[in-house]
Symmetry: C3
Subunit: 334 residues, 3 copies
């Protein structure tokens, strides 16, 4: 496994291996000294072409807990403003020594293109409407900890602007691959056409769908969609597709609530529901760090010299054989 | 001691303990290898809702010298722009693994609110007009090194826009708690009403006040105050309340000059005075790092599992008992 | 060697010593664990008054690979916006504990002025049209690896906006000091006057110059120069002074192509040439990290207590003698 570009490339066994790795790293993050030397001397670069403090910090925290160095390529202050191409930017970041490049971009497929230009490992941290693989992995990981070990037959309802959501696309794939049954719900204008061939049930009636689910996953609604007249008003959206206090009161006690954040409290989710015991929203954030540690470890600790082109030449003289890198421990020298 | 939210909560013994800790850490910062492993594996997050490179860098430098990791939540590129609430932001930062959250906010009381929402330790790095505890501690620390060990009876004159100054509010409390006698001086429009019940002498005559003090502490004057017609012009402000070369020439040789920075050279303080031997201004900056190391150490090295909610679950499996964390040394394993 | 302010200060022996150091560090960057403890406990600050992600990240990566801490003073969010002077900013950064300050500024001479105000080492990372010493060193380093060990008699053609280029100024000095023969080529409006007394051949005819060179070094053309009417249009610039595919086809096979980045593909250099085997452009980026490691090591690992004023006082109590700092190794304790 060289890159993590999309969940389409992952088999059930691949996903389960990554979630098992994340289990180990979750334990690490709960230690008093929440750090392992697994990736010491490796460099993880973030290259974000869209604002996203959460995802960026989550990856950087994951990298630091693996003792990797981080290198943050900030578009707002960079040569990209001078018109430098994505290709040149990516190759420059790699030439500086990045072993992995974490890419967020508004264009679907941008991380795939980057992967074609560099020898470093590329992680897709969100590309257009296409996908957000680590979000889907952390969502599956969170559900597995609560309803696992198997998700077979687990009923998950994803509600909101499914059409424009890379989170929904990736979640549908990962959760169904793991055996869950996914229903998507929202206004017709915000759902994918049946022709897209998703392995999901489609409905427009939230109240109906809520009767029959184990998990409710709310998506963030973007104000831009209202401007584009895809729904009338935020108030009306909430009335029909928001998880309000009234709707939550009718849920069975063990139904879980999730959201990728940041939330619009009072719009797609009521504030009381977000803070209720059934909400896994903050746990998703914590688990995100462990899952990203697993992904970075999987991509970078594999074998000597695989990490990046700029280091290939000298890999033979490496002082520490990559074979000594291990997940949890003190095996590698400090 | 879980949080540092305001100096009002600190007794004389609390303050002295923190300053003693800072003494130890000042020695660390002067070593050739200016670093100790005291907080290795801990994460210190900064969450600044107002620009302040100085204070943020000082806290981050302090954290790094304790071998903690840092996580910088930058408001300008964050979900806060998308309308995320302070509560969600703080809880998200904690969920990523922050053991301490350093908060600056334009609203008085914001750090207290954050402390109510998270299990992590919260440090107030300046909130509205309310307070700036670490600034007051570093000011006291600096004075103690020059006029200590006791500040009893030390006469300190704070001059300028006292009314809108969180630095002044915190300094008055800390310095008087340590036994100093504080006088505040400035235009009537920029002084607190007598009714506020501060334990200080109030005067409007700088020349008079300068005859009778051991320390002159200048506050930065904000141009906005002139726009609000709180004083006529900067030139007139300087003429009446600035520490000009002429006024400095009349000071006794051992009178010390302080300023929290950044200075308006030529306005509240003349350039020559700022650079003169009696000026402690750069020493304040250096001492700030040591004082913040002391504060972070006090809050985070206390006992296992106290650092943050997200790590409480696994604290029992911690590899290094927090009892082995010590201030200056090689005790904890690297 | 306390500072690196300009290449004018460097003898051939100085340059060769720095390039030899960079050779050692290039080997380090190619290891599996691309990191040495050489500067552990030291702090390298960047103070950039012009946007430059590349150079800033290169210095920060270099510092991290030497195990130094970094402190990034970002002008856009700093007190500089409140009118703080360059002097106060630099002294504040030093007082926080910076052992080296890496300065980029739009004014020629700014790093020299900073060096007069602080005890820390100062590195010029580009000042106005004056110089960019580490760029010139990495260019020389890159050429030495391909055409070395000696550059005596090597013919280098620098083409483009030489007049406004600090890269060109520094490169001319370093390359000619090492024995290379430099020709500069460009429109008359973008070349220095003969009266400047550069040790170079000046020509306006690129096709002619290309017949007779071992290396073509293209400079980035700034759109502002067109606005200032220094050349008619970008298309015409490319036609006369760009390294197009046609021109590249006429070059001898072993002629090398360089560019400091970021490139304007299709303007001063064709995209195919930039990606061709003769292009050293990405290697320049990689070598830049090694060269900057060498410079930081040379300035900071010299002798105990020399690193910065704020640590001078306590240097006698340093736990690790600076004499134990070494380039490549495990000599210093971790």
């Amino acid at each position: 496994m060289k890159h993590l570009l999309g969940v389409e490339d992952l088999t059930r066994a691949d996903i389960e291996e990554l979630l098992d790795l994340a289990d180990s790293f979750l334990e690490v993050t709960q230690r008093d000294i929440a750090k392992v030397p697994a990736l010491r001397g490796r460099t993880v670069a973030t290259m974000f072409f869209e604002d996203s403090t959460r995802t960026k910090l989550s990856f950087e925290t994951a990298a630091k807990r693996l003792s990797a160095d981080t290198l943050s390529f900030s578009v707002s202050t960079s040569s990209v403003k001078k018109g430098e191409s994505l290709k040149d930017t990516a190759q420059t970041v790699e030439a500086m020594g990045a072993d992995a490049i974490v890419v967020r971009h508004s264009s679907s497929g941008a991380p795939h293109r980057v992967a074609g230009w560099v020898n470093a490992s590329v992680v897709n941290a969100g590309d257009g409407w296409h996908g957000h693989p680590t979000q889907a992995l952390l969502d599956a990981f969170t559900l597995r900890r609560h309803r696992g070990p198997s998700l077979d037959g687990l009923r998950v309802l994803i509600a909101g602007d499914v059409k424009h959501s890379r989170v929904a696309r990736s979640d549908v794939h990962v959760l169904t691959t793991l055996g869950a049954q996914v229903t998507v719900c929202g206004p017709p204008t915000l759902l994918p056409g049946a022709t897209e061939g998703w392995p999901v049930t489609i409905t427009h009636d939230l109240d109906d769908a809520l009767c029959d689910t184990d998990v409710v996953y709310l998506l963030r609604i973007q104000r831009e969609r209202q401007d584009a007249a895809l729904f009338p008003t935020l108030r009306e959206y909430t009335a029909r597709w928001g998880l309000t206090d009234e709707r939550a009161a009718r849920l069975k006690p063990d139904v879980l609530v999730m959201h990728p954040g940041p939330m619009n409290r009072g719009v797609e989710i009521s504030s009381a529901v977000a803070d209720s015991p059934r909400s896994l929203i903050l746990e998703q954030v914590s688990n995100g760090v462990a899952v990203r540690m697993g992904v970075l470890f999987k991509l970078l600790a594999g074998d000597a010299g695989a990490g990046g082109g700029s280091r290939a030449a000298g890999a033979g003289t490496a002082t520490g054989a990559a074979g000594t890198r291990d997940v949890t421990g003190q095996g590698a020298s400090r």
